[in-house]
Subunit: 395 residues, 2 copies
């Protein structure tokens, strides 16, 4: 039975990833310190529905499927917590069989503060973002170096590391010719938030580890994810993943749909020409799975651009309005002064072929997919808090 | 009276910089938490001679020159310590006039863990290097953003950020043409230690701050510095800067001279073809001074390659042997298995013109300069501990 550990297993992507692998016969361990939930409480942003603790969800998952997801509640920024997963000191907070699962073949690293606005609320959230994200990554790298160099690290990056350059965005690498000589380098990166900058740092850190110690690392440069339900969460409504619709932790498609459902004008920042790559939560799981199936080589930092299509913010707002109106909602758009410092019109031409080459079958943001999301969100219409949707965190 | 704060003012470069500016009529504040001294004690590496505390040195400096260097002992990784220098909460640990000096025109940021081997001793020193260096830089950036956007940050980078690429190294930036389109980017970087990687991260962080908040930043991509005495330290022997000759905190020229004086074969790693740029400690002070005189513009990250000439390790060893023999020392070379993972033969062609363009007059590592260093080191021959010279910290 292959063993996979999901760092950040309580998060929007972590929990669905855990169920996905558990369903497919893997031994799964999830780790989290609830820092994202705690941040949501601290800054008072609503979630669309309450989500049971990881321990409760693992128990429900076991009741419904007979499968075990082991749970550890701990702070991975503490190196001893991380190293416990390799040297056997780990103590499970929920498990059917609490003996040590052994060294994992694969680690999926989601254990990062994932919000750009959160990282820029003030100097404390900026520091937390940098130290949490870097220390967890560093602890992971050293644990793998010291105990299990063959373990495959699947790390989440972000397309935001590249920013919006005036040249085509390749998948991670660029061959550069300069004054008659050539070299291959990481694609140039310059991000537009502290969060995104912390992800550039992560990549640089693991690239160091790959060169020095022949680690195996896959870096998934992810675009904003949308969606709520996955095949596994459909088994029981209590298994649904955390869903934020606020400006700080909500991603744009999820936010727009929630806004449309509750009659809150869609908040388009500035000209709305900001173009990014997007993907469905189902495709996130597929991408991680296909990466796990074909691991990076020893000494390889393999980088994939993890997006399936691109949209401008205006296009997303228009699509949301169109689908919403078909469903009988009154959807208005409201252009507001951009609280962020970013290009509102820019060149954007990213490559994203690598994941398709290893077997991912893309889903697209069709009217049908969006209609499905509207229906799921509408079930929770009464609990949507309009006051938390826009907070105006300024850069 | 212009006010300058030296972060990391107890270090090899920090204290000479403080005296240099004080001598030239600036109001100077130094800050340090003695972390480098404490690390030297913890891992038991010798210093060539004992160095008084910052408070004692500031007192001696005042007695000898009538000038005041204010001293604060505090951890700049704590944001409140950093912000105290801008909002007036600071309390001086030594000062003649303990009223608040006001917001500085210039901050020189040396407050980083500066050793590559230290950063790779184990997972704890790696984590400390990353968190200290990133948090101090982030705290500085936010303090300047929140209180004093016009303050000029002079930050120490390292030539090691670039690594040893197969293309010519420019001063910080590179115009890239790709598929018929052009963009200007930070020069590609890939470092060979956790320490050097932390400096790449620093640069990326401040580049974010420059773009978002129009900060003024000068990044000095420094090569290894050699030397001991400066014009100001010659005033009183107790004013000499910290001088390490061990593998962990000592820089290569200083180490080789100390080894030659004590009859310890010069430790050349591998083939000795590792080529780097070097500079005299006097030139470090000049470079910082000239950068202060012509500050970066608002919204400018100005990058200078701060080296004056390049040498391979073998060339340095041969030069040390030559000068040592002229002075009557028996100097042997010993090629040892490289404990680091690095290219031992490589292309290396860095540009370093920017600092000369703003007025720096280079000094070179001549026989005469090296002879002077030999004589200074020889005064402390009896206190040199052979057992701390080589420790074999492996990458």
């Amino acid at each position: 039975m292959k063993h996979i550990i999901i760092l950040g297993g309580d998060g929007y992507l972590g929990w669905p990833t855990a169920m996905y692998f558990s369903q497919r016969g893997y031994a799964v361990t999830v780790v989290d310190n609830y820092s994202r939930r705690n941040a949501c409480t601290a800054i008072d942003v609503g979630m669309l529905y309450p989500v049971p603790t990881l321990q409760e969800r693992a128990k429900i998952w076991h009741e419904k499927t007979g499968k075990e997801i082991k749970v550890v509640i701990g702070d991975l920024a503490d190196p001893e917590v991380m190293r416990g997963f390799f040297d056997g000191r780990v103590r499970y907070d929920w498990a059917i069989d609490s003996t040590f699962s052994g060294i994992p073949e694969t680690i999926v690293h989601y254990a990062e503060q994932p919000s750009a606005p959160y990282s820029l609320m003030n100097y404390k959230t900026a520091s937390f973002t940098l130290s949490n994200n870097l220390l967890v990554t560093n602890n992971l790298m050293f644990a793998v170096r010291d105990f299990a160099r063959d373990t495959h690290i699947i790390k989440l990056g972000t397309m935001g590391e590249y920013g919006t350059p005036n040249i085509d965005i390749e998948e991670g690498w660029l061959e550069i010719e300069h004054k008659g000589r050539k070299g291959k380098f990481l694609f140039p990166r310059q991000a537009s938030s502290i969060y995104h900058t912390s992800k550039i740092m992560d990549t640089d850190l693991l690239w160091f580890g790959v060169r020095m110690w022949n680690l195996r690392v896959t870096d998934l440069m992810q675009g904003p994810v949308y969606g709520m339900e996955t095949e596994e969460s459909a088994i029981d409504s209590r298994l649904k993943t955390i869903f934020n619709y606020d400006e700080v932790f909500g991603t744009v498609v999820n936010r727009f749909i929630t806004q449309a459902v509750v009659g809150y004008p869609l908040t388009v920042y500035g000209k709305g020409g900001q173009t990014r790559g997007y993907l469905n939560i189902d495709d996130t799981l597929q991408c991680v799975h296909m990466s796990e199936q074909t691991p990076a080589q020893a000494g390889e930092l393999r980088i994939f651009n993890q997006i399936m299509e691109t949209f401008s913010v205006s296009q997303l707002a228009e699509l949301t309005a169109e689908v919403g109106k078909q469903l009988g909602y009154t959807v208005a758009l409201k252009c507001i002064d951009n609280p962020r410092k970013e290009a509102e019109e820019h060149y954007y031409n990213p490559t994203y072929q690598g994941l398709i080459d290893i077997g991912v079958k893309p889903h697209y943001l069709t009217h049908e997919v969006m209609t499905g999301m509207f229906k799921l969100v509408a079930q929770h219409k009464n609990s949507i808090r309009k006051d938390v949707i826009f907070r105006g965190v300024r850069w």
